[in-house]
């Protein structure tokens, strides 16, 4: 077991290093940040001094080594645009994204699973067919267009929901949260719904497939024979058994929800990480781009590592290590 752990951790380290090289070189292939930093009518001397100050005159590998060196001291550099340390910038935006993602994932599972279970419980009823048709639509509708429709219907036509921003926030443990105020909550609803759509459809499908299979199983047959009410069977037996794959998918999908937050945040001008990365790409803010991409790479490597290790804990056959 320990050997397996070490092997996976070692692989994860290699992945992160490879990603850092890729990201660094990739970001440096895009545009010339000097044009963004200096006004076009600056003298040659000023240009040269700024280039030297940021180290742009160094060869790429030396810039990379410098970047890694600073990284070890947890210094991601300063944002060209905001002129503040990137780590501070990202930390200030992270809570908004996490709040949005968490709200979306919670909604998708707390509402999606019961609906999916119903569809699996009565697979041939009209309502179940309608649910399944809607879930296909949920898979197919692009997130960004669904967001536009939400804005159009709830913000423009009926005017009952705000179209963007975070609303009033409350400070808790030094970070700002929206969901604690009525105004903030109303700002959270539409973006969260928008972000949840895909996971929602996924949860419905998974819960339906699992329930449908289980309803035919001996467990349910014997529970029925014992005279347990249908609701109790669903809640105590079916829900428990289908929740194992659901939790796995839940964990895996949390990461991809973070990725999709880029789209939702852009539409609803939600001041989170996704909006930050889009802005930094358009303004060629290299340090922010590199830091964001590294953070995402690290996050996903970590998620994969945890998933692998969990599987190994559950299934001893995997521990022997497939290289």
């Amino acid at each position: 077991m320990f050997g397996f752990l070490l092997q996976r951790a070692w692989q994860a380290c290699i992945v992160v290093v490879a990603m850092s090289v890729l990201v660094f070189c990739g970001v440096h292939a895009v545009g010339n940040p000097v044009d963004v930093l200096i006004s076009p009518d600056a003298t040659q001397d000023i240009r040269a001094s700024v280039i030297a100050q940021y180290g742009f005159d160094q060869p790429l590998w030396r810039q990379y080594l410098g970047f890694v060196g600073r990284l070890i001291h947890s210094d991601f550099g300063r944002s060209f645009v905001y002129n503040m340390p990137v780590s501070e910038l990202i930390l200030s935006r992270l809570p908004a994204t996490l709040e949005l993602t968490l709200a979306a994932v919670l909604f998708a599972s707390l509402v999606g699973v019961p609906i999916g279970m119903y569809a699996g419980y009565r697979p041939h009823s009209f309502v179940s067919r309608a649910i399944m048709a809607l879930s296909i639509l949920g898979f197919s509708v692009p997130t960004f267009w669904f967001g536009l429709m939400l804005i159009m219907i709830f913000a423009v036509q009926c005017g009952c929901m705000p179209a963007g921003g975070r609303g009033e926030t409350v400070s808790l443990f030094g970070t700002e949260f929206s969901f604690l105020t009525a105004d903030g909550l109303s700002h959270l609803v539409l973006p969260a719904l928008n972000l949840a759509l895909f996971k929602f459809s996924l949860m419905i499908r998974l819960a339906r497939a699992g329930t449908r299979e289980l309803m035919l199983s001996d467990t349910v047959k014997f529970a029925r024979a014992a005279g347990i009410s249908e609701f109790t069977i669903l809640r105590r037996h079916v829900l428990r058994l289908i929740s194992i794959p659901l939790v796995t998918v839940f964990g895996l999908e949390f990461g991809s929800t973070l990725a999709f937050a880029v789209v939702t945040e852009t539409i609803f001008s939600w001041p989170g990480l996704g909006k930050l990365i889009i802005d930094s790409i358009t303004s060629l803010d290299r340090p922010v781009m590199v830091a964001y991409l590294m953070l995402i790479a690290l996050l996903f490597t970590l998620i994969n590592l945890v998933v692998d290790l969990t599987y190994a804990l559950l299934d001893p056959r995997l521990r022997k290590g497939r290289a």
Binding site: S140, P142, L148
Partner: protein, 291 residues
């Protein structure tokens, strides 16, 4: 009618009314997109045809050129119906090119890995798995951001984000074929490895790949629209559906709904139809449902 596997396949397909309808819609859209210049009332990218006086008019407005703009006009006086059909053309192109190259690349990587086996196989598939653990939207987004704007850059980003799905599927199918006696027999004749991979293993691994392809083309089109909407996809000179929707976004808040909605509806109709066709093909090719 002769009873070939293909004609049987078609017959089964026709039994599902919804899927048949969807297949017809897909065919119609493809035809429309291909013959776009012949059917649209206006070439939306010929600046000489645009009249600024006609800009942002609601659906049904009769423009200064004398014909009715059934879906209204956009901020530069383009007929939206024409713009949508031209947009579909670009979206379809991107989806098909990216899907086809990703298909070829993925099938090659998957089949070759299954054929070679050993360390190369496990290394290649480990890389593919690693890539699959990142969401496609994120990969495509990062790639598009790194490569910059442009048609070929976007296609590259889409291929990079999608080939892994084909590689995984092809590898699964080809690895199963590799164990079978006919491959052993072909190898012991001996036929050349290339011939065995391309003429024997690949054709027999095709069914699952076709299923993945329908889904992936739909998702490539959706990805492309999303990236263009975010501003990291195609340049404004080549407006796909995503770009049209993005352009209409700012007018949505002032109640001019049609600029964003109709391109979006066209996009959804196309993607939903493709997915329905894909679902049906998957059900028909899935041996587990036929027992």
């Amino acid at each position: 009618m002769s009873d070939t596997p293909f004609s049987r396949f078609l017959g089964d397909f026709r039994k599902n009314k919804v899927a048949t309808g969807a297949a017809i819609v897909v065919a119609l859209i493809v035809v429309l997109a291909v013959i776009a210049p012949l059917v649209t009332p206006q070439n939306p990218y010929d600046l000489a045809h645009l009249v600024l006086r006609d800009a942002r008019r609601p659906p049904g407005y009769v423009g200064s050129a004398g014909y009715t703009h059934w879906l209204g006009t956009d901020s530069q006086g383009r007929d939206l119906l024409s713009a949508i059909i031209y947009g579909l053309r670009i979206s379809l192109q991107m989806g098909v090119i990216a899907g086809a190259v990703a298909f070829a690349l993925g099938a090659l990587v998957g089949c070759a890995a299954a054929y070679v086996g050993g360390r190369v196989e496990s290394l290649a598939m480990r890389l593919v798995d690693l890539q699959l653990s990142f969401p496609a939207i994120l990969l495509a987004f990062v790639m598009a951001a790194l490569f910059g704007q442009g048609r070929s850059q976007l296609i590259l980003a889409l291929i990079f984000a999608q080939y892994a799905y084909f590689a995984r599927t092809a590898h699964g199918a080809a690895a199963a074929e590799r164990q079978k006696d006919y491959v052993e027999a072909a190898l012991s004749i001996p036929l050349s490895p290339w011939r065995v991979v391309f003429k024997h293993m690949l054709p027999n691994s095709l069914p699952p790949l076709i299923v993945v392809a329908t889904v992936q083309i739909a998702s490539a089109i959706s990805l492309e629209a999303t990236l263009s909407f975010l501003g990291v996809g195609l340049p404004p000179s080549e407006p796909s559906l995503g770009m049209l929707i993005a352009n209409g976004f700012q007018y949505l808040l002032s109640g001019r709904y049609w600029i964003s909605i109709y391109p979006g509806l066209a996009l959804i109709l196309f993607i939903v139809s493709l997915n329905l066709v894909g679902d049906q093909i998957r059900d028909q090719l899935n041996p587990r449902l036929h027992r």
